[in-house]
Point group: D2
Chain length 347, copies 4
């Protein structure tokens, strides 16, 4: 049964918007009928995204942000943090299903939020009415987001790569001494405009560097939700790096345990969890985890190896798919009672 569900995308002119449009081309139910971008207003999809010159979008044009939305339809917010902070509660109060891809509803401690995002949240009371959309950790909460009148806060790309990989180990992470995360992302992880993505060729190509060391906004997001899933207070360091690639995040996570764990048991926990999840794939060696196997897919590939009281977990995903648009669709699928994988396999 392929019942048609119209949806809107606000802030559709960037990389995340393009990816939402691309994946919904194949979705049996979700159909974008209203997309906004002040900069692209009036243009057809194909004028902005030549690779989406498809019959299904022949009559779809960008509207302005302020234009009225068709009533009742679900909305993806691919808008800046401050805009989402205003729009998500308003749309939710209109009764719409809301999937917010910004960072505005992911944290639940107001003082942490202000420090990290640099502005006073106008509707922080809604934080308690938002659900963090990582299905591998919080699937049941996500299923009831819409019926309970909540906002779906779609996770950040780095948090997805770390939490998706640590989800299987959450029950035992309380026995860790500390967790050191070294994450590397292609330039599209910065979101923004398709044309520039914020980085010059000369500054990225044949180069590599770390950024926002001990200061990245995704660290508290990881700490909060990992702690909640594992019922502990993570002692965690997160260091992001900029790769000279366009797509993909690879995270190398070293867990230091209080005592030497059973390495086979840890590996079995990860493998079995992956087998039960539609978008986690267990790799028999962590060296097989690499960007090119996950690019343009909604999968997270995961590998693990232990020695003494240390465990190395490596994960890879596509930051624009499982790290953004793909996961947003996965979440809306769950919220609307559709099959979780609808539209997210190539088939």
């Amino acid at each position: 049964m392929n019942s048609r569900i119209d949806v809107a995308i606000l802030g559709a002119g960037g990389l995340t918007g393009r990816e939402l449009l691309r994946w919904m081309l194949r979705h049996p139910n979700l159909h974008p009928v209203h997309i906004t971008s002040d900069q692209c207003a009036g243009q057809p999809v194909s004028a902005v995204f030549a690779e989406l010159d498809e019959p299904a979008y022949a009559s779809l044009r960008f509207s302005k942000h302020a234009d009225a939305l068709p009533s009742g339809i679900p909305v993806f917010l691919a808008t800046p943090n401050k805009d989402s902070a205003e729009l998500a509660p308003r749309f939710r109060e209109e009764g719409r299903a809301v999937v917010d891809l910004s960072g505005s509803f992911r944290l639940h401690d107001a003082s942490v939020f202000e420090k990290v995002y640099g502005f006073a949240h106008p509707h922080f009371d809604w934080a308690s009415k938002s659900v963090f959309g990582l299905p591998e950790m919080f699937r049941e909460e996500i299923r009831s987001v819409h019926s309970e009148g909540k906002i779906l806060a779609n996770p950040g790309c780095y948090p997805t790569s770390v939490l998706g990989a640590l989800a299987p180990l959450a029950p035992v992470l309380g026995k860790s001494s500390c967790i050191i995360v070294d994450a590397k992302s292609g330039v599209s992880g910065a979101g923004g405009r398709v044309e520039d993505a914020g980085f010059s060729f000369g500054g990225v190509y044949e180069n590599f560097r770390a950024y926002k060391i001990l200061k990245h906004q995704h660290e508290p997001e990881i700490v909060e939700h990992l702690g909640r899933a594992g019922q502990f207070t993570p002692d965690l360091v997160f260091t992001p790096h900029l790769l000279p690639t366009f797509r993909g995040i690879l995270s190398t996570i070293v867990i230091v345990w209080n005592d030497t764990p059973d390495a086979h048991l840890l590996e079995a926990m990860v493998r079995e969890h992956c087998e039960a999840e539609p978008f986690l794939r267990f790799r028999s060696t962590p060296e097989e985890v690499e960007l090119k196997r996950v690019q343009n897919t909604n999968f997270i590939d995961i590998g693990i190896r232990s020695r003494g009281n240390k465990t190395v977990v490596v994960s890879a995903l596509d930051n624009l798919v499982k790290g953004a648009a793909g996961q947003a669709i996965q979440n809306l699928n769950l919220m609307l009672g559709l099959p979780e994988t609808a539209g997210l396999l190539l088939q």
Copy 2:
């Protein structure tokens, strides 16, 4: 005074050989007069390395490995591990200054050596007569290598990036709980033939992955020499990764301390040490440490930031220069009593 010192390079047909030749073009004293490569034998330098089509090398041709060397001249060994294990002692017994760029004389525990390198060393007794050539840690030992009849074991590229960065902190590292090293290298770090460097375009480009997780031969090299410099037993995990770049290594090192240290003191230790070293450069923020600033130089750039009981140190170097050929020249300079920086600045 620019007295001329003739030198030989064995195994000069690869990336390291090319780099040794390139830097010695500008060296006021060292002049390669005998270079070997069975594969390139008979060819002039410019036929193998078009970018070295220079008057100074117009009459220099590759010899075979077995061809007799001019007597007495110093020799760089850019040969495979097994070859160096045989050749270095022989050349040293002939009275030559020997700088070995292989891994055969860097470790001092025979059982570790065999496990790591996979063969029984034919002359492991010489390990005790070799000096690990990291001037930032062991300068005085290096100065007397030649006079004491020892072999200079030139460090690996990854160990140089880690030990060079941790050298300033060695006196206090005994207070660390564990050290997590996440290192990333361009493809030339694998050495080998210039033409292929062992990696296909399709396998490296727009890709990223870890390799030899908890199994890399450079981990015990780091542990041994860091422990010696700091008089402690490091609890260290080293994870190497392959970048889609040609040159450069960036290492992100997280030190977990037993107690919260004085962050300003640590930073001051690093800054002051760098100021006293000709090839270490302190960067006021660790985000400024990046590959493009060190490529084609003999520098290591270092930055540091601490929070609570964690310190993040980031270092960058060119794996073919400070990580191989440049450091080898720096070591021979010290061994021969030449200025340490001779030939290693652009000037």
Copy 3:
């Protein structure tokens, strides 16, 4: 009506095979049920192509080349030239629809064939029973390939990029003095194994060069079919180059006319032709023609500008899609009476 048609792919273990499998995931009719590769025999699709870890292929495994094919089903030959030369006639005589992606049935002059491909064709009599599968030039012939017992010779990637762009101008090319084609391809244009694609990272990255100058096998392919379409004898020079990219071919074609043509008329011919073709897209300026707009699509983007007696035509396509697997599917669609675009749009 989505009637199911099972198909086979011989030589499915390479880049072209992967791409055929990828596009048929979405095809409403064509379903691969038999895929061969001696090297991958016994393995499931996902073990060879991790990105194709899809439910539709869960039970599909590679067979050996010599294994018996299900009777009657159409076959794609992604095999080497010599293998195709043997297999295509045999399968055609079995009554199968045959789409051959090799170069073995594209040329119709035996002496040219031997000179270009370096071997004596075992079944060159079949050349006269093969049809060159460029729908934009020879659609009607393609529609009747199967009913007339002929072989479909799928065009080379470079010829598609040149002939697709020149198809609109074919009627007037008899008035040209000469045609200079400068073509540039990413490494995947060389076909071969997925893992290496025949090119090392160090040899391709930050590099660019021409190859097979005045000697490339695609030049006579272009000359024969362009001459046939335009009823003239082209005076044409074709120079291929290797780009440091993975996907895509951009061809810059300069036509020197005997007399100054009507520039507006030429542009109108191209624009109108593109509007009538499902996979040609006219770009209003030739500067808008670029690889990134056509990668992972079956489109050819085309732009044109004239000055005096010269016309510059620029075209871009994805060498693995319109230049290989996509066009092969387009051709089989036509041969089987399916909609020409079936499976070839993202939708």
Copy 4:
């Protein structure tokens, strides 16, 4: 005899300035003592160009453009076209040797100049007192630039790649029917700021396109000087392209002759000319001409192959060296009576 000659660089904060500084580090005579950049004013060289953190430049800081220059010293103008148009005559009238790297004094037809550069030249009378600095064509004129009170107009990067390669054939090019030039450049060919070089990573990486088709300002520059060298009126089309690389230009030149020439004679002309020139290198096959062999050198590599009445010439150079800073130094060497290769070999 290494007599010291102080020099100034105006507009030293960009890629060309960096390259001038880098090469002069090794120059036995030329020493930059005054460098300007309003944006970098007050900063030391190493703060702007970390890779030039060298003792020789320890005390050299950027001045403002308007700051007074030391009297009498030669000046390199790496300034925008309009600035050079004002400054070059003024500095020349002060008696300085002037090497202008802009496009303001390369053309000698005022109407062409205005059309191409889009502004009215304030001192076009100086065009007749400027010499086009391509030593391979106009060496004797260059030697007398300074003594005759003229300005040295350093050629554009593309014109150098084309004219350097065609210089050997200039005497016979009058017999050509037309010349089709297809040129490809890395992003640094656009000059500008080091940090951005004007191109985003997402727009260049894994992409390729032509630009300024039939409209590039370097086409009339090539036509004028090729015509002058060969005493004919070239019928020439020039199409530039943007490569996803940082450095290097490769030009593929197809000459269409009126009659079939003697291919061996043409090849011999090129080979012999190259052997007599310090910075031209003949490659025995044109396939050996590639970017990586010329990057970071002042060489132009050239190869040639003919068939019938067509000749293909391929050339490669480093746009920042032979295409800009290296050639500027070569020209100043000639103007000042220094050895032509001084400072321009690695040695």
